[in-house]
């Protein structure tokens, strides 16, 4: 089969960042929170059952306060790790929010 590897260059050249979460109520809350915390971004959701990929272009912020509001309980941002199976882009953990980003724009 003729594999056109140039299509793979296109696949690499993306700027999508964001978490890949194992399913459940927190993952659903994060989907909602991401929409609120990143109002100007188009959020892409890819639900594979065992995991949900949440991505947008360039930079994504997820705030502890927003997740708490959506969940209706106190949520500490460190708890996100329980569900954080992977992520695209790079990560920066802060006291009350987490940021996914790329340094280079391609």
């Amino acid at each position: 089969m003729g594999v056109d590897v140039s299509t793979y260059d296109e696949l690499v050249n993306n700027n999508r960042v964001g978490p890949v979460l194992t399913g459940g109520p927190v993952a659903r809350a994060v989907v909602e929170a991401v929409e609120i915390d990143n109002p100007d971004k188009e959020i892409l959701i890819d639900d594979k059952g065992a995991y949900i990929r949440i991505e947008c272009d360039g930079e994504m912020i997820i705030r502890q306060e927003t997740i708490s509001d959506v969940l209706g309980r106190d949520f500490e941002i460190q708890e996100l790790e329980i569900y954080l199976g992977s992520f695209s882009g790079r990560i920066e953990s802060h006291d009350d929010y987490v940021r996914f980003y790329f340094e280079k724009n391609v």
Binding site: K48, E79, R90
Partner: protein, 499 residues
């Protein structure tokens, strides 16, 4: 009293560097163990991006364990094992043999980075990484042990790495190379960046998606729980590479990445690749291995490589072709040499399976399908013992230790053996890349005897397949068989009768 924010005290508690008085810096951090050069010496500037404190660690890990163990407890009586299709049970047996003890080796690797990294941030992350890997070893050994009452092969969860079975040799050769025999710097790149940021996503998340689709939620929650640890401690390598790039050590980092990636691809293209494209139930199989590779390695991981300041590996084009081919070629080898593995390998054949393969990999029938045509004809004629059982050992690659099966059979025959003469000996490789890895440091690899070398050296007695199985530690009841005891052939013979 107001609690301090974590960021107010984190750096202070983490920065445990001091000036040694009783020994020299070189004695405290020997170059061979650290791999850190003078150019890279500003270690306090290494800033780990994924910060974790011990208090949070314990709290979070407890929740993770509670989650995975409670799923297991709830589903214990669901008879998943009894009701699962035989090929899926083989995926579990393969996983539990290949992974848990390798996790203990990873524990050693993390401990090595804890001790011999000059950056306090690396030491901190590796300490948690070490605890993570201990958890992975224990948990997966425990979950897998449940199946011992069902099949002796499940005992290979403990046994595999202590044997000379060829897939165990291949796994050990890879993990020893990446995890236990290099400096802290090389380990951080080969293990935490190339392998953990890249490949473990396939074995622990993509496979979890397949498990979930197949209804095996215990396994799905177990392995995705493992991956939440990886996502954190894998972040040791990225900032280290940036540190190296800034210190002008780009070439060294790139080389280690290229070695680690290729080696991980060979092993996991074999184990995960064949499992996903042939062993998961076809009617529930939503994505091909190639599609998962495109999602995780091409779309996600390769992009991260560029961001930390490195390039795609030099063999990129060949590799991208390989992600649609290797698993099919090695699948034939895995199935044909089925007595030599500790799980019952599935052929994964049937008209529906072939349609799926042709759809996901256009041209499949013309290549690998032609080999299977012959196998199917022989199995249908009842000539299993005579024509589809191995009489010899597989010819394995002197680097990856996996049967040499690169290139395509059938219409565009391109199977090739890559050779190298080194100090009077001829070495055989499955690919240009495996040969290249060897050439980077021949002394590291050339003394290793592959399975055929051991056979020729007279280590395997009697020199027959039976003698070889014994040498590999495969006892009756453990020797691999066709996962469905050839029942799948009826899907073809029935069809012929209808026609």
């Amino acid at each position: 009293m107001a609690k301090l924010k974590r960021s107010d005290w984190y750096d202070f508690t983490r920065d445990t560097n001091w000036t040694p008085k009783y020994v020299s810096e070189e004695e405290l951090f020997p170059q061979q163990m650290c791999g850190m050069t003078d150019a890279m010496d500003d270690w306090n500037s290494y800033d780990e991006p994924y910060k974790q404190t011990y208090t949070d660690y314990v709290k979070v890990q407890r929740e993770k364990d509670a989650g995975a163990y409670s799923v297991r407890a709830v589903l214990e009586r669901s008879k998943m094992w009894d009701n699962a299709p035989a090929p899926w049970r083989s995926v579990l047996i393969q996983h539990y043999g290949a992974i848990p003890l390798a996790e203990y080796a990873a524990c050693t690797a993390e401990a090595h980075m804890t001790r011999f990294s000059k950056a306090p941030g690396m030491r901190n992350m590796a300490t948690f990484g070490c605890l993570d890997e201990m958890r992975h070893g224990q948990m997966q050994a425990y979950f897998g042990h449940e199946h011992v009452s069902k099949t002796r092969q499940a005992d290979w969860g403990w046994k595999a790495y202590h044997t000379n079975e060829w897939a165990s040799i291949a796994s050990r050769h890879f993990f020893d190379d990446m995890m236990t025999t290099r400096s802290a710097v090389e380990t951080a790149i080969g293990l935490t960046f190339a392998f953990e940021t890249g490949f473990t996503n396939l074995q622990f998340l993509a496979l979890a998606a397949e498990a979930g689709d197949a209804g095996d939620h215990t396994f799905a929650s177990l392995i995705s729980s493992v991956q939440t640890d990886e996502a954190r401690h894998a972040q040791i390598g990225g900032p280290l590479i940036r540190h190296m790039v800034e210190a002008g050590e780009t070439e060294r980092a790139q080389k280690m990445l290229d070695i680690g990636l290729w080696r991980a691809w060979k092993l996991f293209g074999t184990l995960t690749g064949a499992s996903m494209d042939y062993m998961a139930p076809v009617e529930l199989r939503k994505h091909s291995f190639k599609e998962f590779m495109e999602e995780w390695i091409v779309g996600q991981f390769e992009r991260q490589i560029i961001d930390v300041g490195l390039q795609k590996p030099w063999y990129w084009e060949h590799w991208m072709k390989d992600i649609g081919e290797w698993q099919h070629s090695v699948q034939i080898g895995l199935w044909f040499w089925r007595p030599t593995v500790w799980w019952d390998h599935a052929a994964g054949m049937g008209p529906a399976e072939r349609d799926w393969l042709e759809e996901k990999y256009p041209g499949w029938n013309d290549k690998w399908g032609k080999v299977w045509d012959v196998i199917i004809r022989n199995v249908a004629a009842g000539e299993i013992e005579e024509k589809v059982m191995p009489k010899t050992l597989p010819m394995v690659c002197n680097m990856c230790q996996i049967p040499i099966a690169s290139g395509n059979p059938g219409g565009e025959w391109s199977v090739k053996d890559y050779q190298l003469e080194q100090d009077g000996r001829l070495y055989h490789f499955c690919s240009e890349q495996c040969r290249w890895v060897f050439e980077q440091e021949p002394a590291r690899y050339q003394g290793h005897l592959d399975l055929n070398d051991r056979f020729l050296a007279g280590e395997i007695q009697p020199p027959t397949l039976e003698g070889a199985l014994q040498y590999m530690g495969l006892a009756p009841g453990e020797i691999g068989d066709d996962a469905e005891r050839y029942e799948w052939i009826k899907k073809f013979t029935r069809q012929e009768k209808v026609a």
